[in-house]
């Protein structure tokens, strides 16, 4: 059955599987699984999905109900594992800064939930594309929290280690490409269904390469920042906000007044 697949598909499948396997072993041999437990779990689930797909394609063919259930059921597990890996990335970026983390995690969870709900509400695709719609919604959630946490880190000038940077870049780009790929497939099924799988595999291979570089850059020991006493914030920031408000009033006054002419 597998031999009926196009050679390019088989080749890309082999490349992504081997790259994923290499990354998984690389993480385990460098004991990075303690630092990145959910990323390791995601890669493991992804490899198991490949093994399960190989089995069902070989023995049940591509169009049986068993294949459909196994393929999309395992995809649900993979997406959940990727969501956990995305949360792990978010925690690595801002988790040590407890004040900003509490604020960012609340805001981003609300934003992610809103994006997920809106995607499910407005897709109107019926049962045919229901699984794909669900995947788009979950990917939109992942992309929102990953991009959101990077924007928070950028705003507060929180340092991001190179390994986390590459990990986040891979997670974010992977989700964005998946949304685009699935959206194009849902809209142009007839013309695009032949290319959809290839695009997804090439993108995933690229993301795996990014993650290999991320794991190469990962330090075994990560220094934690020392937080200050809470009263520094509670004394400084309200004062600063008051002065900012006054400055704004001053600016309004400034552009209402004209310079005297000689």
């Amino acid at each position: 059955m597998l031999s009926s697949l196009p050679t390019l598909d088989l080749l890309l499948w082999a490349v992504t599987t081997l790259t994923g396997l290499f990354l998984f072993c690389f993480i385990l041999t460098r004991h990075l699984d303690r630092q990145f437990p959910f990323l390791t779990l995601y890669l493991g689930v992804n490899l198991l999905q490949t093994a399960a797909q190989l089995f069902v394609y070989q023995f049940y063919g591509f169009s049986s109900n068993v294949t459909y259930v196994v393929a999309w059921g395992s995809q649900a597990l993979v997406v959940v594992a990727r969501t956990l890996a995305a949360c792990e990335f978010c925690y690595r970026v801002l988790g040590h800064y407890t004040g900003v983390w509490a604020l960012a995690s609340r805001i981003l969870l609300i934003c992610g939930a809103v994006v997920l709900t809106l995607t499910l509400l407005f897709s109107h695709d019926g049962f045919r594309y229901a699984v794909m719609t669900l995947e788009i919604a979950v990917e939109a959630f992942i992309a929102t929290i990953v991009v959101g946490i990077v924007l928070f880190a950028h705003h507060y000038e929180a340092p991001i280690e190179p390994s986390s940077m590459l990990l986040g870049l891979g997670l974010g780009l992977n989700s964005c490409i998946k949304i685009l790929n699935d959206a194009v497939l849902s809209r142009y099924w007839n013309n695009y269904s032949g290319m959809w799988n290839e695009v997804a595999m090439v993108a995933f291979a690229g993301v795996l390469v990014l993650w290999i570089f991320a794991m190469r850059a990962a330090n075994v020991h990560v220094p934690k920042p020392e937080l200050q006493a809470a009263d520094i914030y509670s004394k400084l920031v309200p004062q600063m906000n008051r002065r900012l408000a006054e400055l704004n009033d001053q600016l309004v006054h400034l552009f209402k007044t004209e310079q005297p002419r000689p």
């Binding site: 805001i107 000038e157 964005c176 914030y233 004394k235 001053q250 004209e258 310079q259």
Partner: protein, 186 residues
């Protein structure tokens, strides 16, 4: 999938990817900035020029030059005064941005922050930037009052002094912690 939903999805994904690349790129660039301690040392560096700037903008001087030297000389002086004021306005903004940066570092290293204060500071700094550009435009076309500009400088200066006093009162721990955080990735 409806066409509107398709377009929204494509724009959403492309926009997020662009934001991700932009923020990572600027985060990498910001690593080259001086560390937090250096910023604390250099924060209000332009504010000491406020006195001479204010004196240089005196309207009586302009009237005197117009009476004695004629309108040509007065026009040239007005033009040069405007350039000086614009330079001063830009340097005020630089100082103000550095002070905001210190406030962000303080928030980053605080175990508890208030969402209300953070939102308020973000809203006010955005408003400040917009209004600042409007004032700069007015100054550029010669329709903003110089005494108000000096008063703006005083406010930024007062903000800097308050920050500095608070930092000294509360000890150097915040600055040291800020420095530690900003260099923890090295």
């Amino acid at each position: 999938m409806s066409y509107a939903f398709f377009i929204t999805g494509v724009l959403f994904a492309a926009g997020l990817a662009a934001l991700l690349l932009w923020s990572f790129r600027s985060t990498r660039r910001s690593k080259r900035r001086p560390d937090a301690l250096a910023v604390l040392d250099s924060a209000p560096q332009h504010l000491c020029n406020m006195g001479p700037i204010r004196r240089s903008q005196d309207a009586a001087d302009l009237r005197y030059v117009a009476d004695r030297g004629g309108s040509g000389l007065a026009g040239r002086l007005r033009h040069e005064r405007r350039d000086v004021a614009l330079l001063y306005l830009n340097s005020l903004r630089t100082d103000f941005d550095q002070l905001l940066r210190i406030a962000r570092v303080v928030a980053l290293l605080s175990p508890e922050i208030s969402s209300t204060h953070e939102y308020e500071r973000l809203r006010l700094s955005v408003l400040f930037r917009i209004r600042f550009e409007v004032v700069r435009l007015r100054l550029f076309v010669g329709r903003a009052a110089m005494p108000q500009l000096a008063s703006l400088g005083e406010m930024v200066s007062s903000l800097a002094i308050r920050m500095e006093t608070a930092m000294q009162t509360l000890g150097e721990r915040a600055a040291l912690a800020a420095n530690l955080a900003l260099t923890s990735d090295q």
